[in-house]
């Protein structure tokens, strides 16, 4: 009896003892490296956006809001915003709808479902840079598969140089992004669909609910939180996509696919205007952060409503 108490006291003392420094030691590597590699560059970028960064003389002078003034009055910036909104619209709508479509298909019971589920992972497993290349092959004007298909079907008699056309270039770069993102959306939605208890449907059937009612009040209600997250990711991608667009068009033809991310890259690495590049990136960061916070509030509110 007495020894048990002593044991417990020792254990408690030990617990007390390790509480003091162990958690900090465990956290230190992660927090310190994140501080150096993410937070400090972030602060530097914010500072750059208010400065004129002279790479040759290695001088950074504070110039207040000048970069932002110049940015907000430039025609290219507003054009990039417009292009980016169109791009994001495709990257949000296509993957969300097609993702939902494929997820609803793959939750059904049929021969080939296993193959379908595995196939679904494939686009997601490919790097963005490969997505860009794949779609390059599809839209190429000399040997592109889409041209080939249309030609084989007799719908065109001459190959179309899609990427030389401003509208097509924007549509196809967005579709390339949508292609991979559809898989991502479908994977998430399928995982959510699989957690719906079957007896919910049975109960609804007994209550005489039709197909549409069952979809709306069971399926849709159940996956709504996931759908919200999927939307968030698709919107964020719509604004942060760079890799696939860069390998496909590098912003062209003309400025037709000049997304904000491409503008940021051009200002920073081609014009070497680091201050301006930083200003663009802060605008971009604020947009995505705003979208992110909005959706976080949305999920919290819906969670609160369920609780």
């Amino acid at each position: 009896m007495a020894s048990a108490r002593i044991d417990r006291e020792t254990a408690q003392r030990r617990k007390h003892w390790d509480r003091k420094w162990i958690p900090y030691a465990l956290l230190a590597p992660a927090l310190i490296t994140i501080l150096i590699v993410i937070i400090s560059p972030l602060l530097t970028t914010i500072y750059y956006s208010f400065s004129n960064v002279d790479l040759i003389f290695n001088r950074t002078t504070f110039i207040g809001l000048e970069n932002y003034q110049e940015l907000f009055t430039s025609r290219l910036f507003w054009k990039a915003i417009e292009i980016n909104l169109k791009f994001a619209a495709i990257v949000v709508i296509v993957p969300t709808l097609m993702g939902l479509f494929f997820a609803l298909l793959l939750v059904e019971d049929f021969i080939g479902r296993g193959i379908g589920r595995t196939l679904l992972i494939l686009p997601w497993a490919l790097p963005w840079i490969v997505i860009g290349l794949l779609w390059n092959w599809l839209v190429n004007a000399q040997f592109g598969a889409i041209n080939g298909l249309l030609y084989s079907l007799g719908l065109i008699d001459k190959y179309i140089p899609f990427m030389a056309d401003e509208d097509w270039a924007l549509i196809f770069t967005a579709l390339a992004s949508a292609w991979r993102q559809t898989s991502f959306s479908a994977i998430l939605l399928l995982a959510a669909l699989q957690t719906i208890p079957e007896d919910l449907y049975d109960a609804a059937k007994v209550d005489g609910a039709g197909l549409r009612a069952r979809f709306r009040f069971i399926t849709f209600a159940w996956i709504r939180p996931t759908l919200t997250i999927v939307l968030l990711y698709n919107i964020v991608l719509g604004f942060l996509q760079f890799d696939a667009v860069w390998i496909m068009t590098q912003g062209g033809p003309g400025d037709a696919t000049m997304l904000l991310s491409v503008l940021l890259y051009r200002e920073t690495f081609i014009n070497f205007d680091l201050g301006m590049g930083a200003a663009v990136s802060n605008v971009l960061g604020l947009i995505t952060l705003g979208v992110g916070l909005f959706f976080v509030r949305l999920t919290y509110r819906s969670q609160a409503a369920y609780a």
Partner: protein
């Protein structure tokens, strides 16, 4: 009688609809990939055929051979270059980087996640905000300060520049998923072990770690995929040491040999595709946990 007939038709319609949708899925995913695959086994002249040969007439492994030995265009057609000799070293580098990122992530992230999960911290929200931030932050925008830091410690154009950057950018996600995982593992078993005189480390090693294996696999697979695929940092911090930026430089060659490029692309996506297929279940789990909770 008529009842069973209408039932049959409903069943048939349903099957038709399902297989139509299934065909859409196969076409949507399969067509682009199939075209890359057939391009990779064609000769350059065959690629120029109009309409295209949907089934290659004379499939050849020549493109793969050339990419692996590193010399293309030996057949006297266009695209003669030794640039492709960088391919195999790049694949090795990518492999090394990806594995290093996985291991470092599991160690550093696992430690932090355990601390968040088992000790009372107000910092929990910081991890949450951290995850959110890295997900919405344009990584592009951090490159210049990051470049300056890495140049100061002489890591530019080394694999370590990539290993460090990738590890840290994936860390918040790792911490988030593992923390959720640790949270769901019964705390009382561990506390019982502590009271029985086990140290924290013993309790972690004997009780928590074995139970957390599925979560760690999920996180490891995600880290592998991200590290293998990352393009932008690799492009700016190194001179195409790894696979993704090297593809870009093949693409930008004066005379692109599209067939060799297709072979190189196919070779380079094999590792992530195989990993994704093998660990499918863990991947889906990691994805949905990381996304839905993060």
């Amino acid at each position: 009688m008529s009842f069973s007939t209408s039932k049959f038709w409903r069943w048939a319609l349903r099957k038709i609809a399902i297989y139509l949708a299934f065909f859409c899925l196969i076409f949507w995913v399969g067509f682009p990939v199939y075209y890359m695959l057939i391009t990779s086994v064609m000769d350059p002249p065959e690629l120029a055929a109009k309409p295209p040969n949907w089934i290659p007439q004379q499939p050849t492994i020549q493109n793969y051979r050339e990419v692996i030995i590193g010399e293309t265009g030996q057949r006297g057609d266009y695209g003669t270059t030794t640039e492709f000799s960088r391919m195999m070293p790049a694949l090795l580098n990518s492999t090394f980087v990806s594995f290093a990122v996985v291991v470092l992530n599991l160690i550093i992230g696992g430690m932090a996640a355990y601390a968040f999960s088992r000790f009372d911290f107000r910092l929990g929200r910081v991890a949450y905000v951290g995850v959110l931030m890295t997900r919405v932050l344009p990584a592009l925008s951090l490159i210049v300060p990051l470049f300056i830091i890495l140049r100061r410690i002489n890591l530019i154009n080394t694999l370590w520049a990539l290993i460090i950057t990738y590890t840290i950018f994936i860390l918040p996600l790792t911490i988030w998923i593992l923390r959720e995982y640790f949270d769901t593992l019964a705390r009382d078993i561990e506390e019982m072990a502590l009271i029985d005189g086990a140290t924290r480390w013993q309790a972690f090693r004997m009780v928590v770690a074995p139970l957390a294996v599925p979560g760690m696999i999920a996180v490891g697979v995600m880290a592998f995929m991200e590290a293998w695929s990352e393009f932008f940092f690799a492009l700016t911090l190194t001179n195409s040491l790894t696979y993704p930026p090297l593809l870009m430089s093949f693409r930008n060659l004066h005379q692109v040999n599209w067939n060799a490029l297709a072979a190189a692309t196919t070779l380079g996506v094999l590792p992530p595709v195989i990993v994704a297929f093998v660990f499918q279940r863990y991947l889906v789990r990691g994805l949905s946990e990381g996304a839905v909770k993060g």
